[in-house]
């Protein structure tokens, strides 16, 4: 009888812990996505600065970002830089596309964010400088809007996810008992 109670207590603790952890995971992934978008915005701003003030070609500008950056986007920028300098007959957009598809796994960007980033790659490289800056500005605006939206969602849902996680655990435990 005693061992039965102990088993129930262990089970209850496990259920509450795991469901709470899931709740915390859901809220932290919202936070991580915002952090990643801010990081991406910072890098794109550096790229825009290099293009605007230094007319720096993309391999050099992206290489400089890859060197300075050690965060979640390091693999992405390093991959693009290394492929660009090879001049192996692969076009810019193809390199960018593979980068977005395969080298952003460490980030919390969602499918929609990756699609937007992919579209930016379609327009990099061949336009004149003003057009190039406009395209990047447009992307940054879009990114800022996404960050704002995600921050609102975070405010609304982070607490909800945390509480729901704990409450759901308690609810399931009560039913099981």
């Amino acid at each position: 009888m005693k061992s039965m109670i102990i088993m129930k207590i262990i089970g209850a603790v496990l259920v509450i812990t795991s469901s709470s952890a899931f709740g915390f995971y859901m809220s932290s992934s919202l936070k991580d996505r915002i952090e990643d978008m801010k990081e991406l915005k910072k890098n794109i701003l550096i790229l825009r600065g290099d293009i605007r003030y230094g007319s720096t070609p993309l391999p050099e500008a992206i290489g400089a970002i890859a060197c300075r950056h050690e965060g979640n986007f390091a693999k992405f920028f390093t991959h693009i830089y290394e492929e660009l300098i090879k001049l192996d007959g692969v076009r810019f957009f193809d390199i960018w596309k593979i980068g977005v598809e395969q080298k952003l796994k460490d980030t919390s960007l969602n499918k929609n964010d990756k699609e937007h980033l992919m579209k930016l790659g379609e327009n990099l490289g061949y336009l004149d400088k003003d057009m190039q800056i406009n395209i990047i500005d447009l992307y940054i605006e879009q990114l800022e809007a996404e960050i704002l939206e995600a921050s609102k969602v975070l405010k609304e849902k982070a607490h909800l996810y945390n509480t729901l996680g704990v409450m759901a655990g308690i609810f399931v435990t009560i039913i099981m008992l």
Partner: protein, 320 residues
């Protein structure tokens, strides 16, 4: 990476495969011309050839490989390092200098802003002129531009039609004067390399050997660059390629007034030709330049036709 591989990387994959298999000596290759819906043409050893699908050189137009619009577009992407915007100023002038100092001329549809060329789109014609560094090609002329006591040089103007090797000669003159020899001290040389052709700088480091006492101002307009170098690097000699504009000539006068020596090149076929030019002609008449080196490509590229002094007396002449 050797010179051939470095150059071939600017071509679209299809053209790269064809050109890789040709057995051309890249030292003799002068030009590669691409035209959308036109044949692939090379100027090799002073002769024009079509390149065939089987990577052979042919005189027959029917055998030539035809270039597509997409190949030109892809090639432009590689030439501009995936960044056409970075070459805005160069595109306005109609050419881009690539790594290795090769000059890529482009033509297409120009976009005008009032009367000035703002940009170019639908680029359909590309002409790649290969730059060659030939060490020792200035051996013949160096004794004529050094003063008799060997401690100074004369103000020198190299006169040459296009494709006769004036930049190559200038490059070697700079290298030799900068390095000096065992019994002659080298000079501090300042080079204003407006089109990156002399030093072929890549990220600020010259890819061609311009000597140990040479400072290079890369991609800078000649007139502004000459003034800047005098103030910043105190050169003994200033070297510039292809002078022509009025402001270039004014800057040359400034250089000479500052006590520096000038070595410049100009497009032309003879000293008379230069004398008839409105602004540069005045300097010739005023005997500002003390040596004139006239080039042609009759025997071979870089053939020195004549060397004159400031009065127009012939100091050297090729025996024809």
């Amino acid at each position: 990476m050797n010179k051939k591989d470095e150059l071939l990387k600017i071509f679209s994959l299809g053209l790269r495969n064809i050109l890789t298999k040709t057995n051309m000596d890249y030292e003799k290759l002068q030009e590669i011309r691409l035209r959308a819906n036109g044949p692939l043409i090379v100027i090799y050893d002073n002769k024009e050839f079509f390149v065939t699908n089987h990577s052979k050189l042919s005189k027959n137009y029917i055998d030539a490989v035809m270039i597509t619009r997409n190949e030109i577009k892809e090639t432009m992407e590689y030439i501009s390092n995936f960044s056409l915007y970075a070459f805005e100023e160069e595109i306005k002038q109609g050419f881009i200098t690539i790594q290795g100092g090769h000059r890529v001329g482009i033509a297409g549809k120009t976009i005008l802003d009032e009367e000035k060329v703002k940009s170019m789109k639908h680029i359909s014609f590309i002409n790649i002129r290969l730059s060659h560094q030939i060490k020792g090609c200035a051996d013949k002329v160096i004794p004529y531009i050094q003063s008799s006591d060997m401690n100074d040089i004369y103000h020198t103007l190299i006169i040459s039609p296009p494709r006769c090797g004036k930049t190559t000669l200038l490059r070697d003159i700079i290298r030799q004067l900068s390095n000096g020899e065992s019994d002659i001290d080298g000079f501090t040389v300042g080079v204003v390399d407006e089109r990156s052709e002399i030093g072929a700088c890549y990220m600020g480091i010259p890819q061609n050997d311009l000597g140990i006492r040479t400072d290079i101002l890369d991609c800078c307009p000649k007139a502004k660059g000459m003034m800047m170098l005098i103030r910043s690097m105190s050169p003994r000699i200033i070297a510039v390629d292809e002078v022509g504009l009025g402001e270039d000539i004014e800057a040359i006068e400034y250089v000479i007034n500052c006590g520096c020596k000038i070595i410049a090149t100009v497009h032309g076929s003879s000293i008379e030709d230069i004398r008839n030019k409105p602004i540069l002609g005045r300097l010739v008449k005023e005997k500002v330049f003390e040596r004139y080196i006239v080039l042609n490509n009759r025997k071979s590229v870089g053939n020195i036709e004549q060397i004159f002094d400031e009065r127009g007396s012939i100091l050297y002449q090729t025996v024809s």
